[in-house]
């Protein structure tokens, strides 16, 4: 069962890396580990007959977004977290909120797994209802993207523009307006 093995390998890498991302304090490591996790995820995408998404995942996430993160980490060069000063006025602003959040997260996992267990249909093999060709072809994807989802596509383009302008305005130093 090679693909089962591959699946477990990728999943393990993804989950492990993600755990480490939030598990240690150095943002530099976090970024690198997250890249690893993305790589594993793209592996899963390939296994799901979505090679294009897989490559896009690498190009966009690993190749662009993460570089941006890395850039900022290096720019600010603030590798370690500083101890927080809390105001006690808020129940959630308590030092233990971290653990509280972790608890909630585990709770969420339990709930989701349970929910999945409830739905019997999901036990079916992922490829059972359709063949790879129907989802694998880049041509089909492009056609759908530019016909059925044209509006969303344009909207995202506008979104990107706005984000770009916003980022420029925000990151610009005060006084360097001219």
């Amino acid at each position: 069962m090679p693909e089962t093995f591959v699946f477990y390998a990728f999943s393990a890498v993804a989950i492990g890396a993600s755990t480490l991302v939030i598990g240690q304090r150095n943002p530099m490591y976090s970024v690198m580990l997250l890249i690893a996790s993305f790589g594993a995820l793209s592996g899963l995408y390939i296994q799901l007959d979505a090679p294009f998404v897989a490559v896009a995942q690498i190009i966009i996430y690993a190749g662009a977004i993460m570089v941006l993160f890395l850039f900022v980490v290096m720019l600010l060069n603030a590798p370690r977290e500083d101890a927080a000063e809390y105001d006690r006025s808020h129940p959630f602003a308590h030092p233990n909120i971290g653990r509280f959040g972790a608890l909630l997260a585990t709770l969420l996992i339990v709930q989701l797994v349970w929910a999945l267990a409830k739905v019997g249909e999901l036990k079916a093999p992922v490829g059972s209802r359709s063949d790879a060709a129907s989802v694998g072809s880049v041509v089909e994807m492009g056609r759908v993207l530019f016909t059925r989802h044209t509006f969303a596509f344009e909207a995202t383009s506008v979104l990107i523009l706005v984000a770009m302008v916003g980022a420029v305005v925000l990151a610009r130093r005060e006084g360097s307006d001219q």
């Binding site: 693909e3 690198m32 890249i35 896009a56 690498i58 690993a62 662009a64 570089v67 290096m74 790879a132």
Partner: protein, 347 residues
């Protein structure tokens, strides 16, 4: 498992291919080291390396040995893991990038094999994107090196590398997209085969004739992506001692130029496949097309070196200006024009 990614070939042959490509790349980098210094010498009216072996052909070997026997230094306060990871990462990405680059038609290696195989490791239906993706990963090696060695020169080098490579990836990808439009496929092999034959019997159907602007943009962006002069800001000797690899020595150091040369080779190979018709050429039977391929790659590599020793380095702001305000718009225009052309021809 996925059909799209399985290059339906026997593991044996894929192993052979990997072996061939790997060694080819290593040799190429060695040759390039020598070629670079020889050509530089020629251009500066010197002999260049001359002592080691006849006309100094063994110079690369000597360099490698020298580097191997150097001491492994790691600066105090450098990040242990990343400092080691960085060069490995860069060289690995450099190698992997070549994985989906086909470099020849079917051949039997002068009858060594009982049945012909396609020259090229993996034939993926999104091969072009894979190349692009892996090369885009290449930046991490440099950036990490710059950050991990905990030195301001290196840090500047890394910052510059990240900004520069992100900026030029845009133009790079856009010029690729134009070719994809023409060929109507993301598979490099199909792109190459789309360029077989000739117009009017004597002009080869290479995309360079359809995409002159695209080709120029691709080459320039490629130079910037590989951090070669005139865009070698990450390691600008006059400004930052040696940029991101200031603190490196011995093998770790050796890996950086290694990966740089491999990246150059990959760039040239991809350029050949995309614009120069790959292994297609006159006079030779398709079986020996890989010779054509090598020749074309060689020409482009020569151009690389030529450029390096001819053109002075930019200023960093000029680099950014050029990348964002000229190269990228030009590539977009090129893309739109190509799209219009394709639409017109199809309609």
């Amino acid at each position: 498992m996925v059909e799209s990614l399985t290059p339906y070939i026997r593991p044996a042959t894929i192993g052979i291919m990997i072996f061939v490509a790997f060694n080819a790349l290593i040799i190429a980098s060695a040759v390039l080291v020598l070629a670079e210094r020889k050509i530089m010498g020629f251009m500066q009216q010197r002999y260049g390396p001359y002592l080691v072996g006849p006309h100094g052909v063994l110079q690369p070997i000597a360099d490698i040995l020298k580097l191997l026997f150097k001491e492994e230094l790691r600066p105090k306060g450098a990040d242990k893991w990343l400092f080691t990871l960085a060069p490995v990462l860069s060289v690995v990405t450099a190698f992997v990038a070549f994985a989906t680059v086909p470099f020849g038609a079917e051949t039997t290696f002068f009858g060594l094999l009982d049945e012909p195989i396609k020259l090229g490791i993996a034939d993926v239906n999104v091969g072009l994107l894979v190349v692009f993706a892996v090369t885009s990963m290449g930046v991490y090696g440099i950036v990490l090196a710059g950050w991990a060695s905990n030195s301001k020169y290196s840090l500047f080098g890394g910052l510059r590398a990240s900004a520069q490579m992100i900026s030029y990836e845009l133009a790079y990808a856009t010029s690729l997209a134009a070719v994809i439009l023409l060929a109507g496929s993301l598979s490099l092999r199909e792109v190459v085969d789309a360029q077989a034959g000739t117009w009017l019997g004597f002009i080869p159907r290479w995309y360079i004739f359809l995409q002159p602007l695209g080709f120029i943009i691709y080459v320039i962006a490629g130079v910037a992506e590989t951090n070669r002069a005139p865009f070698d800001f990450p390691e600008a000797e006059q400004e930052l001692v040696a940029g991101y690899n200031t603190e490196y020595s011995s093998v770790r150091f050796a890996l950086f130029p290694q990966s740089e040369y491999i990246n150059m080779t990959t760039m040239s190979a991809v350029a050949t496949d995309l614009y120069l018709g790959g292994w297609h050429g006159p006079f030779l039977p398709a079986e020996y097309g890989w010779i054509w391929f090598l020749a074309k790659v060689g020409v482009i590599l020569f151009a690389y070196i030529w450029m390096r020793w001819t053109v002075p380095r930019y200023r960093y702001d000029q680099l950014m200006q050029f990348g964002w305000k000229w190269l990228f718009p030009a590539s977009v225009i090129n893309l739109i024009a190509t799209a219009a052309l394709v639409l017109y021809l199809d309609a």
